[in-house]
Amino acid sequence: MKARKAKEYVFSNLLGMETYCKNHYNEYYSTSNFSCNITQLSKGELQTSSICAPINNVHLEIFKSNQTLLYEEEANQNSIAFCWINNQGKKPSSNTIISGHKMKDLSIAGFNRLNKTGGNTWDIVGANTLLCCMSLKWKILKEKIDEMNAYNAYARIEECIGIDSKSTASYQLKNLFEKHFTKGITTASGFYDLAIATLEDSCEQQNQITERSDSTELIEDLVKLLHEDRPGLPPLTIGEITKYLNSEQESVGQACRSTFNMNILDLIKSIRLEQVKKSYLNPHVPRGLKQFTKQHNALYYGFKNWDSFQRLYFRTFLESPEDTIDKASKMSVLVSDLRRGSMS
């Protein structure tokens, strides 16, 4: 059996990328109801590239963006993610954090995409960082865990968000992933076995581990809350946010600064600015109507002063709201088939 061709998807806006992720994921897990939110956290024009090379029961992807992005998605009961970075020996220009685990060369994280306690999952993907993502089906992984009596691995999945692992299995897993993108692997079992071995081995070694805790849940909930649409209601105030999170303003502010390197107000602004931009990019609303309602859209997301909103918008995206609306009608996704060996 021949390995399927890998495809590269290049996006210049995040609405297109979200739509692609939704369609792609729904096709992969036919019964899921997937949705995600992506926000650009750094300033400048955006270009992302996503190389996908799925095989049966394993989804494999290499992702890269020229801007730092915040990615948020609802946790689910179908799949579990194993993500790591590949800086190819270079020092990254910004940090990558997967669900609260600060990513280093040895890190593997993202296990909490699997919904055990009702959370969601979020990542910060640093600019120009190569992020490798492997998504396994939970049903199959669980069956294999039972077969192998790998109950330490099961425990890791329930308690842990990420690990820094020096185990042989984790090296082998990363190598197999790389081999797939250069030569093409056709069977899934190696990925499952090595994922289990990585988790199982990590229990016997001294590892840096991020466990689920009140502080990881606080950030998860904050990110989720900031993305929630409140139809017909004004955006949440900081006081309301802390009340919803059952926390103190000080704790939320501190958690925000240490994770996102920005204060809560700046994080809120970034997310809402992105939401306004997505409303301008909406392909289902005619261009004229978008021009007519552009100030109302900004107001809906809490930007009361149009002039200062325009300035902030331009500083962030290097284009005006009008430019975005004009571009929306010419939106396109660049999709290309890739030859094995040309991807590394």
Binding site: E74, N115, G118, Y154, A155, D221, Y244, N246
Partner: protein, 318 residues
């Protein structure tokens, strides 16, 4: 025809069982909307009940002061052995469980049954049963009742007892003494399973897991995995093996599921005494260890197929 009552919530099963003195908390161990049915009859000195469910159920707090609560299962479809656990005793189609309720404190027992079988409870008066066993000089039966958790019974009397129960669930309990006679034979003829030391330890561990999961003082501040291991004095691999084998899920997920079920119970009872609003959901979520209402609602929806606000609304209408 057997009269079965169809329920939409395990809470309703609990309420019916309460009529027989069983203060049991029932948790559905699999996500999604479930359906449940129960047939039950009682007479002055005994009661019988048969429960079937579309999802596996965990019963905690089983046992009364007046009765020995015998249990058996009836397979409804082909499934992997065992069909369930009665106080850690794995249940097959010739198993009789619940013997420990003779000596244990009321509400100290637990059971877990799969959706592939129905479970039957036969509650016999402790004093009458003991008198009967002594009158018959059934020393083996008394020994079993005092020391066995469950028995394997291949004697015809067990089949007769099952047939009688089925018939009486459809009509009325016409002759309670017949139950005492047949149970005497079952207890006398049943054989105990020999357990290895490890299996006995496992049975104790399962009981401790169920107890800990239902401990009301631990619910508002859920324990981490390492705290659970420390509390139960067990390694994480052994804990996960026991949990996965017996409950089909990891310990954290199981404890979360029990807390959700408790929160659901609390919401349904709350609406009978006061009006419901957003603060009610928030307070209940926090009481059961869910600090953020949104997270609670999402997890709740995954488990029960409805939002907390919908449960409150439905309960108010009921």
């Amino acid at each position: 025809m057997k009269i079965k009552f169809a329920y939409t919530d395990p809470l309703q099963l609990s309420e019916t069982l309460q009529e027989y003195g069983q203060v049991t908390r029932i948790t559905q161990l699999e996500s999604g909307e479930g359906s449940y049915s129960m047939a039950h009859k009682n007479s002055s000195s005994m009661a019988i009940a048969e429960i079937s469910a579309s999802k596996p159920l965990l019963y905690e707090g089983w046992g009364t002061s007046w009765s020995v609560d015998f249990n058996w299962i009836t397979p409804m479809r082909k499934a992997n052995y065992p069909f369930g656990y009665c106080e850690g005793f794995s249940m097959n189609d010739n198993s009789l469980g619940g013997l420990n309720t003779f000596n244990s404190k009321p509400g100290d027992s637990w059971g877990k049954y799969s959706e592939s079988c129905s479970s039957t409870a036969c509650m016999l008066d402790k004093k009458i049963l003991l008198d009967k066993l002594q009158e018959c000089k059934a020393s083996h039966a008394i020994e079993n009742l005092n020391h066995a958790m469950g028995l394997a019974i291949d004697h015809e009397a067990f089949s007769q007892l099952r047939r009688l129960t089925r018939r009486d669930l459809a009509k009325e309990i016409s002759n309670p003494s017949k139950y005492y006679d047949l149970m005497t034979i079952c207890l006398e003829e049943g054989s105990r399973r020999l357990f290895k030391k490890k299996q006995a330890k496992n049975q104790r561990l399962l009981g401790e897991i169920v107890d800990l999961s239902h401990d009301p003082y631990k619910m508002s501040s859920p324990m981490s995995l390492s705290e659970v291991c420390q509390h139960l004095n067990v390694g994480q691999a052994s804990l996960y093996r026991a949990c996965q084998d017996s409950f089909g899920m990891g310990i954290i997920e199981m404890m979360t599921q029990v807390r959700l079920e408790e929160a659901r119970r609390s919401m349904i009872y709350h609406t009978t005494t006061s009006t419901c609003d957003n603060n009610t959901i928030r307070e209940i979520a926090i009481r059961f260890g869910f600090k953020h209402q949104g997270r609670f609602s999402r997890r709740y929806f995954t488990s029960f197929g409805e939002l907390p606000s919908q449960t409150l609304k439905r309960a108010t209408l009921l």
